[in-house]
Chain length 296, copies 2
Amino acid sequence: MLIVPEELPDGGGAFLIAWQLTGKRVLVVGGGEVSSGRIRNVLIADALVTLIAPADSLHPSTRFFVDHSDRVTYHSRLFAGQDDLEDVDMVLTAIDDVEESRRICSLCRERRIPVNAADIPPLCDFYFGSQVRRGPLQVLISTNGNGPKLANIIKTKIEAALPSNVGRAVENVGVLRSKLREIAPGTGGDVSKRRMQWMSKVCTSWTLDELADMDAAKMDELLSVGWPENRTLARSSHKNDSTKNLCGFLASGRLRSASCGFAIGVCVTLAMSKKEQHGRRSPSEWLEHASKARLA
Amino acid sequence: MLIVPEELPDGGGAFLIAWQLTGKRVLVVGGGEVSSGRIRNVLIADALVTLIAPADSLHPSTRFFVDHSDRVTYHSRLFAGQDDLEDVDMVLTAIDDVEESRRICSLCRERRIPVNAADIPPLCDFYFGSQVRRGPLQVLISTNGNGPKLANIIKTKIEAALPSNVGRAVENVGVLRSKLREIAPGTGGDVSKRRMQWMSKVCTSWTLDELADMDAAKMDELLSVGWPENRTLARSSHKNDSTKNLCGFLASGRLRSASCGFAIGVCVTLAMSKKEQHGRRSPSEWLEHASKARLA
């Protein structure tokens, strides 16, 4: 089925991407707290970091990375000029000197080196946002400069919505994919399409919990039995759903609400029954009376 | 308070960023369905698109963008070589010819033009992921190549967790920020820090609903009264919370659960009361009897 868009998308956004930095050299200029956050994020992406900042300006977190990561090369001095940009793939500045930031950015632009200058949006090739990480799963939340604090609040909501084992599920699906590529190799064409369709079926017919719990034996069974027969060996999704619903109910506040309701129902009826003993009206008579009164 | 990391972050991830494409030229090579998705995403970021693809290979969605967007310049032909890379800021290829993709990527690399080749991860400077957009809010979900389908499933969970008016809240906070910058201008230093702190206080003391409902009058009041006095004019958060809790309770399935519980409580007690009429035991006597039995 072809889905043709009926309208052009609204503009005003950014192009959200997962930049690859494995083995790439990132120059960080400045050693304060902001800079330490930048270093942390590029280390997550396996970059090689060159840090240029006077030693007396280093934030303790930045100092920690200098002391403990063999991926960080440190020079205790100020940015010296174009020689510092030799063999550099990306530049992040986090210094208070706006004019110096401008100069660094313009040198980068001449060399087509992607650059971000902290707190000077117009100079930046790219912005950051709030991030969530769960193993191989990464989520970026960008408000496009409208509110960094709000990005953080939204991040908290997203973190709460992600199952605790979601990282493990992503990891296992990745392992299954590589194993599948080993037994059914080839780029492009039919085999690639069939692999994609089967993986997609596995991901939709297994729950995230089941994917997270998948062990090597289960993977082997899936690959040796499921793949050739184009089946996903998923447990009956129906049974699964009812178990899930029951668990969800027991874990939710709804059981508590039902119990409270029950207790109130008992108390109200007992109270009515006491009244009956005094007022000569049984609960059923009372209900009858009440409905008559309503009809009247 | 200084927070010093106690360990280095785990590597193996990517560097998630919001790339700025306003007025930048993006070359898209190939006109199929994948390509139409790429065009959509760069149009969101206000890019100028050059599309190179033979007319008979265009997917209807790609054709739609060619026909309806004045930001898309279309050439019905194959990629011709380095002249096509003149003044180009980013290249996205989505063609079946792996060798041609390789050649384009290597030309880009020589010119330091960021490039993504669909389905050939090792050639890419950056990857895509699933995306959520709500006005100025954008969320990128990346599984770092472990499972695109899973990214989609996680995207659905995130979409469900975001309040429907979150985009409006982000928009309003952005407007408030610009207005604040007008009445308290200046880059860096104390004023910038004070602005940031106050905006942060507003974002945390107002709920997302309240931020979304903020109108021009409320903004003006906040800026003319709240800002000078360093107050956020938020409604009492306590009262607010109880209202919210009540609303949440009424909207949730918990009211239904409580009602069911109440009804069952009434029925059970009435049934016991009927039994009493026959068996000469009132509900209270019955309860007494039951507790005696338990004690025995």
